[in-house]
């Protein structure tokens, strides 16, 4: 039991902090969910990559620093503390890359990862479909074998694809077996969004312009080289790695600690309000801090080689609920100013998506109950 950082870790933190202090834009960038804002974010992503801070935990050969999980946590803390821009590349880095590392061929790794790290190729996730939201195994989009051409022909529709209108590529599951097979008979494909037959329509999320997209695929050809992890293995590939979306990697505690710090600042500047506000601010701070400690425990387990499985559902329930509570508290503190468009109100709207995406909280509670507590599935 030791809650202090080693000198090497402190040195890593100092390095990160110094670089961020020198590079983080003074003025917040416009929303990454608009075309113009996205371009500004891309420039930032390339700057990050130049500084070798884009993918710290990746091997150096792909643009990373071989950082440990602890260092990654430290980097994330510093990143959010510096008020650095949100990562428009995150769906590639945190959802696709783990699958490529684990299931990709050496050729795929060489081809995909460096360009992803450099923000030369921008990846959008293609999980959901209009009739397959929570029920992901109900996917209908299909891939038909085109043996002559050495590949597959994809047809169907993906939706709620974050920033899909600005990305260059899509990763997603397509049905290569009959629908009755549910989660069997799915295959993980990598699809360039400029391929013939692809149509992308951006649409507005609650908190931003064109934050979502629908992607229509009409007989889109994808070569065999863009199947990830083997035909019919799509569900296993996706599940083995969506843990990283629901778990540690996407939701570093640094994000909530920083929000809690901003909330404290807001509260300290509004003294004299009803006593109840103080209580909620303290609760919010404790929730963020508790989530950080929970994460430290989880990382220790991973570092020491213990298995971390359905615990990622605990993490998701925690950060999504605390994020809402934290932003609700800020909105209350802001009083009549809360309804003006601004960082807090946008953050509030975004927080409300937390219990929905990456597996609804209803599904996460089922997982906790069934896998951690052993309650019957029915």
């Amino acid at each position: 039991m030791d809650l202090t950082w080693s000198p090497e870790e402190e040195e890593f933190r100092a390095q990160a902090r110094a670089w961020l202090a020198a590079h983080v834009p003074r003025e917040p960038l416009p929303s990454g969910d608009t075309r113009a804002g996205f371009a500004a974010h891309l420039a930032w992503e390339r700057e990050l990559f130049e500084g070798r801070w884009a993918v710290v935990s990746w091997p150096a050969e792909y643009g990373g620093r071989d950082a440990s999980l602890w260092q990654w946590l430290i980097f994330e803390e510093e990143y959010y503390r510096a008020g650095a821009p949100s990562r428009v590349t995150q769906n590639g880095i945190f959802l696709l890359a783990p699958a490529v590392f684990e299931f990709g061929t050496p050729e795929q790794r060489r081809r995909i990862l460096p360009r992803m790290a450099a923000a030369r190729e921008l990846w959008a996730q293609g999980w959901s479909e209009p009739d397959a939201g929570s029920d992901l195994a109900a996917l209908r989009s299909r891939a038909a074998r085109d043996a002559a051409a050495g590949g597959w022909r994809l047809t169907g529709q993906k939706t709620w694809t974050t920033r899909g209108a600005f990305c260059t590529h899509l990763f997603g599951l397509f049905r290569t077996g009959p629908r009755a097979e549910r989660h069997r008979g799915l295959t993980y494909f990598l699809v360039p969004l400029d391929a013939p037959g692809v149509t992308v329509r951006g649409f507005e999320r609650l908190d931003g312009d064109e934050g979502f997209a629908e992607v229509f695929l009409d007989d889109v050809f994808v070569p065999d080289a863009d199947v990830l992890g083997g035909v019919g293995q799509g569900w296993s590939v996706a599940m083995a790695t969506t843990g990283s979306e629901r778990g540690l990697t996407l939701r570093s505690p640094g994000r909530y600690l920083q929000a809690a710090r901003r909330l404290l600042e807001l509260a300290r500047n509004r003294p004299g309000g009803p006593g109840a506000h103080r209580d909620r601010v303290a609760e919010s701070w404790m929730a963020a801090e508790a989530y950080r400690l929970f994460t430290l425990e989880q990382v220790t387990s991973i570092v020491e080689g213990r298995q971390v499985g359905a615990e990622s559902s605990l993490a998701k329930l925690s950060w999504s609920e605390l994020d809402i509570r934290l932003h609700e508290t800020a909105m209350e503190l802001l009083g009549p100013e809360a309804e003006a468009d601004g960082p807090w109100s946008r953050g509030f709207l975004f927080s409300l998506a937390g219990p929905i995406y990456a597996g609804t909280n209803e599904i996460q509670r089922n997982i906790v109950a069934e896998r951690l507590l052993g309650l019957p599935r029915r």
Binding site: G133, F203, L206, G273, E339, A353
Partner: protein, 349 residues
């Protein structure tokens, strides 16, 4: 003892509801958003005025319907359920009766539905519809004064609910027409605004519950309607409980105001707390029940949810009104607390 909406009040609310049913869907609300065809909203309001909407609380002698605050609960709930983007509480509950009492010449245009009224209560705070209303009641010092739009400076603000037409307002100290003066008169006006807003919130909450119920009955996942999952059922049942308990509280507050009951202040604050909490619960639950389908501006749900968040914080947020209730109950604040916090109707929580 009879705890139910009076016949005359119900008749007005129904008439208003009929107009709204035909003409105020999501498209009409979107017409109030930036770039929308706001003329449609104005036309709707004129039609509502023909039914008597802004005249509700104006005395018959001044060409009004002569109803009292009891009428506000059903009327505003009906309006809230449809959600037209207008300063309803400000025009109907505050502006029209104030103008009538002061004999302001602008009353005719308000009753005709061609002028909307908004209210700038907290100095410097965003004022809803200030970008659009023809008349603005401004709290200046100890009084409430009426200004024409052209007489004040407005600085528009982007808002979460784009149909609210937010702006900050600066009124010239010397101008305007004095409508009311003194703490008691002002507090009575404030209470009417709070009450009307609470009723709007109950209506908004009910609409969001309806949307969620319709969605989860229809939407299928895992081979069954989403609404057959117990977690969904229970979440929506909790919304129903909250709304069904808030509604009588709003009705009772209206009665207390109309009857000049000594409990009117605490009943009003309680109504606002319960209605705000119920509407916010409805918004969050409805969003969750819709999943990603509701998390886009292409779906109408956000139109109501954003309005609910705005109104929950307007006219005193739940924490402000909860604190007022605590004081009325004689829960003495820790020493000094009372002095430090101005809990007059001007406090912006």
């Amino acid at each position: 003892m009879r705890f139910a909406v009076a016949e005359r009040d119900a008749v007005l609310a129904e008439a208003v509801g009929e107009v709204l049913a035909g003409r105020c869907g999501p498209e009409l609300i979107r017409a109030g958003w930036p770039g929308g065809r706001v003329a449609q909203v104005d036309a709707l309001w004129r039609t509502l005025a023909q039914v008597g909407m802004p005249a509700a609380l104006v005395p018959e002698a001044a060409d009004g319907l002569g109803l009292d605050e009891t009428a506000l609960a059903p009327l505003m709930e009906t309006l809230g359920r449809a959600g037209p983007p207008v300063p309803a509480a400000e025009t109907v509950a505050v502006g029209a009766p104030l103008l009538a009492a002061a004999g302001a010449p602008q009353l005719a245009a308000v009753l005709a539905g061609s002028s909307l009224v908004t209210v700038a209560w907290h100095a410097g705070a965003p004022v809803p519809f200030a970008a659009r209303a023809a008349l603005i009641v401004v709290r200046v010092g100890d009084g409430l004064r009426l200004y024409e739009r052209g007489e004040v400076d407005t600085e528009p603000l982007a808002s979460v609910d784009g149909s609210r037409g937010l702006a900050r307002v600066s009124a010239p100290a010397g101008g305007g027409l004095l409508l009311a003066e003194g703490p008691e008169a002002r507090a009575a006006v404030w209470r009417r605004g709070v009450l009307a807003t609470a009723a709007l919130l109950v209506g908004l909450g009910a609409r969001m519950l309806d949307l969620a119920v319709a969605h989860v009955r229809e939407r299928r996942q895992f081979g069954v309607p989403v609404g057959s999952f117990q977690a969904v059922k229970h979440a929506l049942a909790d919304v129903e409980v909250a709304l069904r308990l808030a509604r009588p509280a709003v009705l009772a507050a209206g009665w207390a105001q109309a009857a000049g009951d000594a409990e009117a202040p605490v009943r009003t604050s309680m109504a606002k707390v319960l209605a705000s909490d119920a509407a916010r619960l409805a918004a969050r639950t409805a969003l969750q029940c819709h999943g990603a389908i509701g998390y886009t501006t292409e779906h109408p749900l956000h139109l109501y949810a954003k309005r609910a968040w705005a109104l929950a914080a307007d006219w005193g947020g739940p924490a402000h009104h909860r604190e007022r209730v605590a004081r009325w109950l004689g829960l003495t604040a820790p020493a000094g607390h009372g002095n430090a916090t101005d809990l007059s109707e001007g406090t912006p929580w």
